[in-house]
C-alpha cells in the first residue's frame, strides 16, 4: 500500500513516557478482525483511550486537547509483543508519521519502516530532554530530518543524530517498498530456489 514520502517532518508531539508499550495496547486483538486495512486509527490505544462504555478516559494523553501532532514520543521498548502490523497501521491511520523512543522492539520497527512510519531511536538522555521540552510547552515543535538523520528540539536547537540504513532511507524518501525491490529480482530468486533441498 502506498504511503506518504518522508523527508522533513516539523510538528508538535504527543508524549507517552511509558515503558514496554506493547502492540496489544496499541491495538487490542479484538480489533484485528478486519479483512481490509481501514479504520484502525479509531481503535489506537483503545483500552487506554476509552472506558468500557466507549466514553473517553480523560487522563489519557490522546484525549488531552493540549497535545497533538504527527510525532509520538514513547518510552523504552516501544512496540514489544505481537507481530501484528495492525499496530503500525493504527498509528499511521491516526495521523502519526514518526515514533520516537530510546528503544524499539524489532518487529514493530520493521513493520513501521515498511508502511512509511519513521521510528527514530535516540539516547535515553535526549528522550528525556524531548519529554521535558514538551512538558514545559505542549506546543513545542520537533523537527525530524530524514535526509540529515537528525532530530531537533526547535525551541532550544538541541539535536541528536539517529541511525537508519541507506536502503530504508532511500525507500522512505521516495515512497518505495520492499515488494517493488523483490519483484525486480525474481530471476535470481528462481535460480536460488532451484537449489533448495526443501
Amino acid at each position: 500500500m502506498a504511503y506518504d514520502k518522508f523527508t522533513v517532518l516539523k510538528s508538535t508531539a504527543v508524549p507517552m513516557p511509558i515503558e514496554n508499550v506493547d502492540t496489544d495496547q496499541i491495538i487490542p486483538a479484538r480489533f484485528l478482525k478486519a479483512t481490509e486495512r481501514k479504520g484502525f486509527g479509531d481503535n489506537l490505544f483503545r483500552d487506554w483511550r476509552f472506558n468500557a462504555d466507549n466514553t473517553p478516559k480523560k487522563d489519557f494523553v490522546l484525549n488531552n486537547p493540549i497535545y497533538s501532532g504527527k510525532i509520538l514520543v514513547g518510552g523504552k521498548n516501544f512496540g514489544s509483543g505481537s507481530s501484528r502490523e495492525h499496530a503500525a497501521w493504527a498509528i499511521y491511520d491516526y495521523g502519526f508519521r514518526c515514533v520516537v523512543s530510546s528503544f524499539f522492539a524489532d518487529i514493530f520497527k520493521n513493520n513501521s519502516l515498511n508502511i512509511g512510519i519513521l521510528p527514530v531511536q535516540i539516547s535515553p538522555g535526549f528522550l528525556d530532554k524531548i519529554l521535558r521540552a514538551i512538558e514545559a510547552d505542549p506546543h513545542a515543535e520537533l523537527e525530524v530530518s530524514l535526509p540529515e538523520q537528525k532530530i531537533t528540539i526547535l525551541a532550544s536547537g538541541e539535536f541528536e543524530p539517529f541511525e537508519i540504513n541507506s536502503y530504508k532511507k532511500h525507500n522512505l524518501m521516495n515512497g518505495y517498498d520492499d515488494i517493488d525491490y523483490l519483484q525486480s529480482m525474481k530471476e535470481d530468486i528462481r535460480v536460488f530456489a532451484a537449489k533448495s533441498i526443501y
Partner: protein, 469 residues
C-alpha cells in the same frame, strides 16, 4: 569458506541469503511460510492490487486458529467478523493453490502446533509467519520468526523477505532441573533475568545440558517465548531427539531423501570457538516453578518469592507501579495463596500433549476447585485425539474439567474465550499484557503444573507440594 568457526545461526542464515544489499538488509529466501486468518487478508489484497501471483504456493501452509471458537466448531461461527476472516482465508488459499486446514479439518489447530506435528517444520529451514510466536519452530534448529503483513505479501509474491542480520546471543543452562520444574519455568526464569527487552536485536541459541535433555515439546515452549525477551527468534541445535521426533511424520522426507537430509542436519551445530555477540549462563539448580506478577513476561518470580520492590525491579518506577496497580497487587506481597478465578491451559506455548500429561498428573484423583473456571484447550485436533487415546480425558472428566476444541482461545481472546475484567487467571500462554486475555483481565503466566495446582486449589500453589512420587 572462511576458517572462522560458525554458529548454528550463521550456517542457516548465510545459506539462505539470495542477495546482500550494501548498508541495507539481506534478501533472505524462505523455505516455509505459515499463514492464518488474521494477518494474511490484507497481504492477499496487496497481491491483487499489484496483480501479483503467489510464487511458490507449495511452500505456504494455511490454518485457521486465532479466531476459531473452542466449542461447537461444527456450527457456523457466530461472530460475523470472525466468520468473514475465516472465509477470506479459505477463499484466498483456494484461489492461489495453497494448502488450507480450516475449521473442522482433522489437521486443523494452532499454526505453531500443526507445523511441527505434521513434519512441515524441519531443521535448517527458514520459516516465517505473520505471528510473533513463529519462533517456536526454532526448536528444530530452524531460523523461524514472526513477520508483519507487508512481509507476508513479500513472501507470497517472491518467497523472500528483506531483513538485516540480527546479532547473536547464546543462553546456556547447565545442570539438571529439579522435580516439578518444566521448560516453561526455564524460559520464564530466563526472561525474568534478561527482561522483556533483554534480547532485542539478537537471535538466540539455547544451549547446554538442560536443553539437550529436553523433549521437542519442551524445546518448542522455550523457543516460543524467545520473542518475550525481545529476541527475533530462538533456536536449538538438532540432535537425536529432534530426528526421532520428525521421522515418519506426514510431510517429513522419507527414504533416500531422509538419509540425505539427515546427513545435512547433523552438520547444523555451533562449532567450537564460535563467537557470540552476547552470552548468558544459568544454573538449572537456581530455577523453581515460576509465575508472573505484572504486565510483561519479564515480570516473573519463583512461586515461593514475594513481589519485588519497585526500586529493586529496575526500569521506570511509574511504569512498574502502573503495572502492579493494573494487577491489583502490591510490592512485597507473597504470590502463594493469591486467589485464582480462571485457569487456561493451551496456546502455542503449552498446548501440546506433554503439557496435558503434566496437567493431568496433578489433577488426577483431585477435584476442580469451586469457583474456578478452567478452559482446557488442545493445540490441535491431533493433540485432542492423543488426550483421548491416552486416558487423559477420563482423568480430566473425573476431576470435573471439560475439554474444549483446538485454537488460540484465551491466549489472545479474539474469540469468545475472554477472562472478565478484574478476574485473575493462571494461564499457560505467553503474554500477561494488560487486556491480552480480555479487557481488564489479570494474567499470571505459569507452567501447566502451576496451572493444574491452581485449578484444584483455587489459589496460587506450589505444584511441588501436590506431585506424587
Amino acid at each position: 569458506m572462511s576458517n572462522t568457526p560458525a554458529t548454528l545461526f550463521d550456517k542457516v542464515w548465510d545459506s539462505h541469503v539470495v542477495r546482500k544489499i550494501a548498508d541495507g538488509p539481506d534478501v533472505l529466501f524462505i523455505d516455509r511460510h505459515f499463514i492464518h486468518e488474521v494477518t494474511s487478508p490484507v497481504a492477499f489484497l496487496g497481491l491483487e492490487s499489484r496483480k501479483l501471483k503467489v510464487m511458490f504456493p507449495e511452500k505456504t501452509f494455511a490454518t485457521a486458529d486465532h479466531n476459531t471458537p473452542t466449542i461447537n466448531q461444527h456450527l457456523p461461527v457466530q461472530d460475523p467478523l470472525s466468520a468473514n476472516q475465516l472465509k477470506a482465508l479459505e477463499v484466498n488459499a483456494a484461489k492461489y493453490g495453497i494448502s488450507h486446514w480450516g475449521l473442522g479439518n482433522p489437521k486443523n489447530g494452532i499454526v505453531h502446533v500443526v507445523g511441527p506435528e505434521n513434519g512441515i517444520t524441519l531443521p535448517g529451514m527458514t520459516i516465517v509467519c505473520g505471528d510473533s510466536h513463529t519462533s517456536t519452530h526454532g526448536a528444530f534448529g530452524a531460523i523461524a520468526f514472526g513477520i508483519g503483513t507487508s512481509e507476508v505479501e513479500m513472501v507470497l509474491s517472491s518467497q523472500c523477505i528483506m531483513q538485516p542480520k540480527p546479532k547473536k546471543m547464546r543462553i546456556s543452562v547447565d545442570g539438571v532441573l529439579g522435580k516439578g520444574i518444566t521448560p516453561k519455568d526455564v524460559v520464564l526464569f530466563i526472561i525474568s533475568r534478561l527482561t522483556a527487552a533483554g534480547a532485542t536485536g539478537y537471535f538466540v541459541e539455547f544451549a547446554g545440558e538442560v536443553f539437550g535433555n529436553m523433549s521437542m515439546e519442551g524445546r518448542m515452549t522455550v523457543c516460543n517465548m524467545s520473542i518475550e525477551m525481545g529476541a527475533r527468534g530462538g533456536m536449538i541445535a538438532p540432535d537425536e531427539t529432534t530426528f526421532n521426533y520428525i521421522k515418519g511424520r506426514e510431510k517429513a522426507p522419507a527414504g533416500a531423501a531422509w538419509d540425505k537430509a539427515l546427513a545435512y542436519w547433523k552438520t547444523l551445530k555451533t562449532e567450537e570457538g564460535a563467537v557470540f555477540d552476547k552470552e548468558y549462563r544459568f544454573a538449572a539448580a537456581d530455577i523453581e516453578p515460576m509465575i508472573t506478577y505484572g504486565t510483561n513476561p519479564g515480570m516473573g518470580i519463583g512461586i515461593t518469592k514475594n513481589i519485588p520492590l519497585a526500586d529493586a525491579a529496575g526500569g521506570s518506577k511509574s511504569t512498574y507501579e502502573k503495572s502492579l496497580d493494573y494487577m491489583g497487587f502490591h510490592e512485597n506481597e507473597a504470590m502463594l495463596g493469591k486467589k485464582v478465578d480462571y485457569v487456561f491451559i493451551g496456546s502455542c506455548t503449552n498446548g501440546r500433549i506433554e503439557d496435558f500429561r503434566a496437567f493431568a498428573s496433578i489433577v488426577k484423583n483431585r477435584k476442580k476447585a469451586e469457583g474456578v473456571t478452567a478452559w482446557i484447550v488442545p493445540g490441535s485436533h491431533i493433540v485432542e485425539q492423543q488426550i483421548k487415546e491416552e486416558g487423559i480425558l477420563d482423568i480430566l472428566t473425573a476431576a470435573g474439567f471439560q475439554l474444549r476444541q483446538p485454537g488460540c482461545s484465551a491466549c489472545l481472546a479474539m474469540n469468545d474465550d475472554k477472562i472478565p475484567a478484574g478476574k485473575y487467571a493462571v494461564s499457560t500462554s505467553n503474554r500477561n499484557f494488560e487486556g491480552r486475555q480480555g479487557p481488564g483481565a489479570r494474567t499470571m503466566l505459569a507452567s501447566p503444573l502451576v496451572a493444574a495446582a491452581a485449578a484444584v486449589t483455587g489459589v496460587v500453589t506450589d505444584p511441588r507440594t501436590l506431585l506424587v512420587d
